[in-house]
């Protein structure tokens, strides 16, 4: 057990190391950030001054070691453009992304569960086929396109919903949240729905599959035979059993949702970390790009490590079987 966790830990550290190498060196070969700052009037001396100030005159290897040294103490460098620590920008913007992701999760469950149950109860009804067809669309349609269509319909044509940014926020427990104000909600609706589409389709499918399995299970038949109401069977017995796989899968997908928020945030100008990354790429703000990528990779490595450890605790076969599943 301890050996297994130690092995995974070493692997995770190795992955982290490799990823920082790739990201740092990869990002360092692109473009030249100096000219973001230099105006057209900036002469050679001025350019050299900027280069020295940004630390770009040192060899890349040296820059990397400085970077790793600082990273170990939680400092991922200063953003070129904003001049403030990259991590503070990430922390500042992360709540907006998390809010968006959670809202998407709520929509996926709130819509997906009832639709999935409906489709599972009467698999051959037209409505069920329609639901499944729509869920296929949810898997295949590029999300950015749905976002554009939503903007076109609800913002441009109908003028019902705002298409950019985050609305008024209220501070709770030190975090700014927008879902508690009407204005905030109206801003949240379209981006959250767009981001939820993939999860929504997945919830529908999982629920439907779970329903079909559980409905044929003995304990449900038994409950029915005992005259327990259909509502009670559904809400207590069935739900209890189908929720477990759904929660598991959604939990594992949640990281992907945060990564994918890059697209949704760009379309809706949502002030989260994803939009920040795309903006940083546009102006070649290397430290910010590197910090975001390292941060997200770190997040994933941790999530994976925890999942692995959790599994090994719950299911000893994982340890014995090595990599084989």
């Amino acid at each position: 057990m301890v050996g297994f966790i130690a092995r995974r830990l070493v692997q995770s550290l190795f992955v982290l190391f490799v990823m920082t190498l790739i990201v740092f060196f990869g990002v360092n070969v692109i473009g030249n950030p100096v000219y973001i700052f230099a105006s057209s009037e900036c002469n050679q001396a001025c350019v050299n001054g900027i280069i020295a100030d940004l630390g770009l005159d040192r060899p890349v290897w040296e820059q990397y070691f400085v970077f790793v040294g600082n990273a170990l103490s939680g400092d991922l460098g200063n953003s070129f453009t904003f001049g403030v620590p990259a991590m503070s920008l990430i922390w500042e913007r992360l709540p907006a992304t998390l809010e968006l992701a959670f809202a998407a999760l709520v929509i996926a469950l709130g819509l997906g569960l009832p639709l999935g149950i409906l489709a599972g109860l009467r698999p051959d009804a037209i409505s069920s086929r329609l639901i499944m067809g729509v869920s296929t669309l949810g898997f295949s349609v590029p999300v950015f396109w749905i976002g554009l269509i939503l903007i076109m319909v609800f913002s441009v044509q109908l003028g019902w919903l705002p298409s950019i940014g985050r609305g008024d926020t209220v501070s709770i427990l030190g975090l700014e949240a927008s879902f508690l104000t009407l204005d905030g909600l109206s801003h949240l609706l379209m981006p959250a729905f767009t981001l939820s589409l993939f999860m929504l389709a997945m919830v529908i499918r999982l629920t439907r599959a779970g329903m079909r399995e559980v409905l044929h299970a003995d304990y449900v038949k038994f409950a029915r035979a005992n005259g327990i109401s259909e509502t009670r069977i559904l809400s207590v017995h069935v739900m209890k059993n189908i929720l477990i796989p759904i929660v598991t899968v959604l939990g594992m997908e949640f990281g992907g949702v945060i990564a994918f928020a890059v697209v949704t945030e760009s379309i809706f100008s949502w002030p989260g970390v994803g939009k920040m990354l795309i903006d940083a790429i546009a102006v070649l703000d290397r430290p910010l790009i590197v910090a975001y990528l390292v941060f997200v990779v770190f997040m994933f490595v941790i999530i994976n490590l925890l999942v692995d450890i959790l599994y090994s605790v719950l299911d000893p076969r994982v340890r014995l079987g090595g990599g084989a599943r």
Partner: protein, 314 residues
């Protein structure tokens, strides 16, 4: 995640090939085709996709203009709505964009690039993934464990994130996006093939082949691989669709293809700026074509899975 068809729950594990017809049999193909044809929706999707593919292939011959030959594009014809007649009497059936480019032609050429990127990356990823998966299953032991660990790791990162990192580093270009897509896709093929191959590996005929001291290559490619083909085909279909979708997304973000080789995603992005002013055709029409392409491929893939793996039929 729009590219995330690849992480669909049904595909999470290896597909059990036990119910699959033996592709070696001559009549197998006919049987599969007959079974496939029983679904009207799937047949429609296949026909639609065939039309799209042929249109893309023949774009240089059937497109009214070559949208990249600047002598054929006239700025004075820009932003015309669908059905307008040009100065020289040509009709722009789907209108023109901000440069006076014929949207129909731009869509046909864009489709070509989108399909090329999707197919090329799918095929390369399939070859690499299948080879790795086969070897992994066949050799077993530490090699298998290592490879599968790498595969698991790779799959635990969202595709969009990996592709984003690569494209930030590599820059834009057809070759670069194909490379990025191969990197995010190969692991799916590897895992699928390995799963199927493991099952086959323990069957009697492989045992017999080993007993006969047939060469490793012959066993791998003569016996194991053919049995993985049905499953591979299904995975490949879905992967191509998701690759097209992912490429469109990345191009929309400005990270995929350069403007000189506009795919559908880029056409949509270019048209986005005109949408507010009611010039919907520049963005909407390429979007519709993209949508139809992806959906038709996915429907074909779904049907193939149902036909090739009756046990998974829903």
């Amino acid at each position: 995640m729009s590219a995330g068809a690849v992480t669909r729950p049904e595909q999470a594990g290896p597909v059990d090939p036990a119910g699959a017809p033996r592709p070696a049999e001559a009549s197998a193909f006919a049987a599969v085709a007959r079974a496939y044809a029983r679904s009207l929706i799937a047949m429609t999707a296949l026909v639609v996709f065939a039309i799209i593919a042929v249109a893309a292939l023949l774009a240089p011959w059937i497109a009214p203009q070559n949208p990249y030959d600047l002598t054929q594009v006239d700025l004075l014809d820009n932003l015309l709505p669908p059905g307008s007649e040009s100065f020289s009497g040509q009709i722009y059936w789907l209108g023109t964009d901000g440069q006076g480019r014929d949207i129909l032609s731009a869509i046909l050429y864009g489709l070509r690039i989108s399909l090329l990127v999707g197919l090329a990356s799918g095929v390369i990823a399939l070859l690499i993934g299948a080879a790795v998966g086969l070897v992994s299953a066949y050799r077993g032991s530490w090699l298998d464990a290592t490879i599968m660990r790498i595969v698991d790791l790779q799959l635990s990162f969202p595709t969009i994130l990996v592709a984003l990192i690569l494209l930030v580093i590599l820059g834009r270009g057809v070759d670069k996006i194909v490379f990025a897509l191969v990197v995010v896709q190969w692991a799916y093929f590897a895992r699928t093939v390995r799963g199927v191959a493991l099952v086959e590996n323990s069957r009697e005929y492989i045992e017999a082949a080993r007993g006969l001291k047939l060469g490793h290559l012959r066993i791998l490619f003569g016996h194991l691989l053919p049995n993985c083909m049905p499953t591979l085909l299904v995975v490949a279909t879905v992967q191509v669709a998701s690759a097209i979708s992912l490429e469109a997304t990345l191009s929309f973000l400005g990270l995929g293809l350069p403007p000189t080789q506009p795919s559908l995603g880029l056409l949509i992005a270019n048209g986005f700026d005109y949408m507010q002013s009611g010039r919907y055709w520049i963005s909407l029409l390429p979007g519709v074509v993209l949508l139809v392409t992806i959906v038709s491929i996915n429907v074909v893939g779904d049907r193939l899975r149902d036909v090739l793996n009756p046990r998974l039929a829903r």
